[in-house]
Amino acid sequence: MSDEMMLKQFQSRIDNGEKIEPGDPMPDAYRKTLLRQISQHAHSEVIGMQPEGNWVLRAPSLRAKKILLAKIQDEGGHGLYLYSAAESLGIDRDEMIGQLHAGKAKYSSVFNYPTLTWADIGAIGWLVDGAAIVNQTMLAKCSFGPYSRAMLRICKEEGFHQRQGYEIMARMMSGTAAQKEMAQDAMNRWWWPSLMMFGPHDTESVHSSESMKWKIKVESNDRLRQRFINRTVEQAHHIGLIVPDPLLKYNDQTMNWEAGPINWEEFYKVINGDGPCNHKRMLHHIKYHREGGWVRDAARAFAEKQQETADTSIY
């Protein structure tokens, strides 16, 4: 089959709403885009364990500790699940981790901000996971089968994460003056990075048009961002949090909360490695991956010995 024919057939399958499975013919660019996106998504889940892990030991109640640990464990599980989805496209996890360490693969830039107080754990659950849900609900409709199915499963758990994050914020907002101050401060620091999670405006987005054509994405960055803003502003007001955007206003005609301009200079600065925690997050991952090397070696050596014993016992 000629490339042109393949491309045409592929596009018509996409247009018919069919799911593409790992063994199916697909354009190289489709495979590459998905690989980039799914591995980035997997890395994000794993790197995201760091800022939240920062508070596990200091969680202020038994219940909070259990919920946070379970959440971090879920993120790790999502990472595993996504690495497997990426592996279905012909790459292995070691290679993906290598790309991460070499700076060739990225992870969500939002995790390059520090978790300074307990309220940040609430803000991450509510805002960061809240933004992720909006994005992932869209990705559940994407054309690549394994990714779409992974998203369906992940979205269920993220819904729980978002509620627990909001609960932390709500409790703090009905608590002492110090707790309220902490909650508002976390809101002030995490609001804009959460909006940036949806990526550049549609007019600026480099990967978007092809992704839309192939239904890797089915809605635009700005549309998803608007959905998140509408949802979240109401939730903030409900518990007495101020959205740190003096230009934010409600448009009666469109029924949208319209945000002021996003600081894209900061967005690109953090994406390009100059955020407060970029270096720390990578160093942490590299350090512990290296430190675990002898354990992986031992497990491998043991498995080989077991295999040898099994092989010889046949005779």
């Binding site: 364990m49 202020p60 038994l62 259990k66 354990v295 031992a298």
Partner: protein
């Protein structure tokens, strides 16, 4: 000591062991040698916090709810904690953590199994649930100890080192005090020393499968159940109790 006070202390001893070991395991979060194991370690930690919470809640009930389970966990000092010395020891490397886990989980599984027959219904109920989790903790750590012992020269060395270091804290798990005397009398607990032979045989079996040798030095370090700890506990509590202490009366 009244029976109620003995039961209260006994619940704290069990809960504190879970709490402190859970806290230690949680330190591994995002630091595991492989993602699967990262998840497993936090999962073990989560089980332990769950058990801690159940026993703290029982303690709170025994004390007529003058304090909550959180108050008991987050507002007691070093000398009021009754956990074993082994669970508060630093994690060290992966072999060290797994060795600690094996030595404790093997003990805890036997303990809960016996306590499932306690005349105190709540103790027996909670223990019957906990024994299932400890069976899994024992299996998971035992598999790793064997894997590391039979893996590479380096892993063998590390896991033997862990055993050499941690063995000195094992007698502490079999200590008893007045709390035990009162509970044994009431049929709610038993002579803890009776667990030793079986525990020794079971860990010994794993060590022989892992080609490890039990060290033969003399040791006599005891005191956890009487609130006499190693220097590590204070630091753990410092971190764990920080928010509760810094914001008295706040709810989270």
């Amino acid at each position: 000591m009244t029976l109620n006070a003995a039961l209260y202390n006994f619940c704290l001893r069990i809960a504190d062991n879970n709490m402190i070991l859970g806290q230690r395991l949680a330190e591994w979060c995002s630091k595991g040698p492989i993602l699967e194991e990262d998840i497993a370690l936090t999962n073990l930690s989560l089980d332990l916090f769950g058990e801690a919470e159940s026993f703290y809640e029982y303690a709170a009930a025994l004390d007529n709810h003058t304090k909550t389970a959180d108050d008991i966990a987050f507002l007691r000092n070093e000398r009021q904690y009754f956990n074993f010395l082994i669970v508060e020891q630093p994690n060290g490397d992966f072999a060290f953590t797994m060795m600690k886990q094996l030595l404790y989980a093997c003990y805890a599984r036997l303990l809960y199994s016996r306590l499932s027959d306690s005349k105190d219904e709540r103790i027996s109920g909670l223990s019957a649930k906990a024994v299932k989790e400890m069976r899994y903790h024992f299996r998971h750590s035992a598999e790793w100890i064997i894997r590391l012992g039979q893996g590479t020269e380096l892993s063998k060395h590390k896991v033997q080192f862990a055993l050499d270091e941690l063995w000195r804290f094992t007698d502490d798990m079999f200590e008893m005090n007045e709390t035990d005397e009162v509970l044994i009398e009431a049929g709610m607990s038993f002579n803890i020393k009776e667990l030793y032979a079986e525990w020794r045989e079971q860990v010994g079996d794993i060590f022989s499968q892992a080609s490890l040798e039990i060290p033969e030095y003399h040791f006599d370090i005891k005191g956890g159940i009487n609130g006499i700890h190693t220097e590590h506990l204070g630091h753990i509590l410092c971190e764990m109790q920080y928010l509760q202490r810094a914001h008295p009366g706040a709810t989270w």
